[in-house]
Structures are given as C-alpha cells and as structure tokens.
Symmetry: C2
Subunit: 195 residues, 2 copies
C-alpha cells in the first residue's frame, strides 16, 4: 500500500509569499526594525495586511523568516567531503549575518523574542528545528564516507557553527575575513572527525 504523499513544494500563493519576504527585508534594511510595519510591508508587496497575518504571527516572525532563513532555503551543501560541506554551510551563514538587513533586524528581533516565550518557542519549532533536521543529511553522508562516527551530537555541532558566526560577525561586529568559513570549517571538522 502506498501512503499518499504529503503535499510538497511552494504554496499556491508563492509569488505573494516571496514578495512579502522581499518587502520585509528591504524595509528593515531601509528603515530599521522598529520603523517597519506590517502595513508598509503589505503595501510594498502589493497585498492586503490580512494576507500577511494569514501566514505570520506578526512582524518578528515575518522579519526572522525574511532575514535569517537564507541558509535553510539554500540546498544542503553536497561537495563530496565534510570540510567542503562545512565550508559551504559557513559561507552561507557568514553572508546571512553580514547582510545589512541582518544588522538592522537583530537587536529588535532579539528584544521581541526575549519578551515573548511563545514567539521564541514558535521560532524554534517553525524554523530552527526544521533547519537543523534538513542539515542532518550532511552529517549522514559524512558518516557513510567514514569521516565522522555515528552518534555525533549534530544539534550541538550546528549550534556551535551558527553561534560562532553569530557572535563573531553579528554581535562582536567583526568584519568577516575571507578565510573565516574555511578556518572554522577546519576547526570544527577536525573536532568531529572519526579517528
């Protein structure tokens, strides 16, 4: 018996969806987080506010998706080696956290997250958990190649990669060196490889 497949792919109104995300990222970069409103995002995207609220719980969730999910939207790197895959993943994260919209959005987003445990839980379940689940295959391939042992704490490895970039680029505000992704991939890759 074949189980019916769950519907996949972009939702039916994917063009509106993408227009809303683009408008949100643009407005945050132009005006800052505080001055960006759902009304302004809807107007720029050419949709009604209802359309925005049908998909997102509010500004924080919308801006989070618009600015900080580029890495998860990209295909999982598959370069043929663990250091290559980690470098590609880290390059995406560096790009994400170096973008003007990211710097503009981060403080306001963090304040909204801190003020609402519900929102924080929603971001964890809607975005962070699926993003991590999607990246598991990167480590499964490394296990198959014998590069890492099964039983690797993948969740902690991913938090380490994201945290290092978040702290170094997003928070400490260092201009990322062109070698950052490679250096960090080497450090973490050596840390988790099988012996």
């Amino acid at each position: 018996m074949t189980l019916p497949r769950a519907p996949r792919g972009r939702p039916r109104d994917s063009r509106a969806h993408q227009a809303i995300l683009t408008a949100a990222a643009e407005l945050v970069a132009e005006l800052g987080y505080a001055a960006t409103s759902i009304g302004a995002v809807a107007a720029r995207a050419g949709v009604g506010k209802d359309t925005v609220y049908r998909r997102w719980s509010g500004k924080a969730e919308l801006v989070y998706e618009a600015v900080f999910t580029g890495t998860e939207a990209a295909p999982v790197p598959d370069t043929g080696s663990l250091p290559g895959d980690l470098t590609a993943l880290l390059e995406e994260l560096v790009q994400e956290f170096s973008a003007p919209a990211a710097a503009a959005a981060l403080p306001g987003l963090l304040a909204d997250f801190a003020a609402s445990p519900e929102l924080q839980a929603r971001i964890r379940s809607e975005f962070l958990a699926p993003a991590k689940a999607g990246l598991v295959e990167l480590f499964e391939r490394a296990v198959q190649r014998g590069e890492v042992d099964p039983g690797l704490p993948v969740d902690l490895v991913l938090d380490t990669l994201a945290g290092a970039i978040f702290f170094h680029v997003g928070l400490v505000g260092e201009q990322p060196s062109p070698r950052l992704a490679t250096q960090l991939a080497a450090l973490v890759g050596r840390g988790i490889e099988s012996r």
Copy 2:
C-alpha cells in the same frame, strides 16, 4: 635596570566599585533592563550618581560589566590539560549565560550596542579584548605541553566557544545539559589539538 611596574590590583575604591556592580546585576534581574536606572543603582549601592558616571559611560557599559564579565574576573583555568582547561572555561560561560540577570539584560544590551557603534567599540576594547588577551596563557600552556601547535587562531577559537554558549543557552534558550561544557570542550579541543 628595572622598569617600574604598572600599578596592578583593584582600584582604591574597590568596595564601592563592587557594590555598584552587585546593585546593577540585582536590579536588572528584579526589574528588567529597561526599568533599571543609574539613579536606582547608585541608591542601592549607597553612592552618588557621579561615582557611577566617573567609572562607566552609562547603563549599558555598567550592566555589561556587572552581568557578563564573571568569566574574565575568574582566574584563568589551569587544570594541567587543554580539555580540562576548556571544560572549566565553558562551565563558567554556561553559568554566566544561564543566570537570571543575563537573560534579563541581554535583549536591552544588544539593542543599545546596535544603536551605538561607539559603545560597541568601547565594549570590544575595554572588555572583550582584555578578556581574550588574559586567556592567551591558557593556550600558551597547551602549546608548551605540545597539545596544540603555535599559530592557533586563538581569537577565533574563543569566539567559537563563547558563540556556541551564547547561541545555545542565551539565544535559543536551551536549558543547558550538565554535559554541555564537556561535550563542547571535547569537540573544540579535538578540533585544535596538534597531530
């Protein structure tokens, strides 16, 4: 010829200094960052506002020192091995980021840092850079023991340790497992050890 030693140790008014830091951490944990004022901190510490402003540029710098410099105030770990030293360092960081004052202070502090490049630069030069410089000896001892190679990117390693804890505990809001410090010390320790 003996060069005169630079004055070291706690400043002359170290009791007032410590009372101000304690009052700031307490008030942030009790009232939140936004509702904490320099006047309230001074009153609880039993000093005048002038005494506070003589040492700190404002609330953000004071609260940062009060809440996020426990690790740098502690002696540099010296357990005899790199994994032991990294575990001890990470345990301090976990404790720092799990404290109620840290959760209460983080969003407001980040917002203030983001709004002021001068403040961000000051925190980098007054706190982060000296803290990193102090930890260099931990890695120098590991080099002497042959555990790591000279030329290790110490700055990036420290950002990785702090970023992983910051992201996992401070931001994603995970309740830290008792094994977190050990697991991360093993991961990063293996990543940087000499072969």
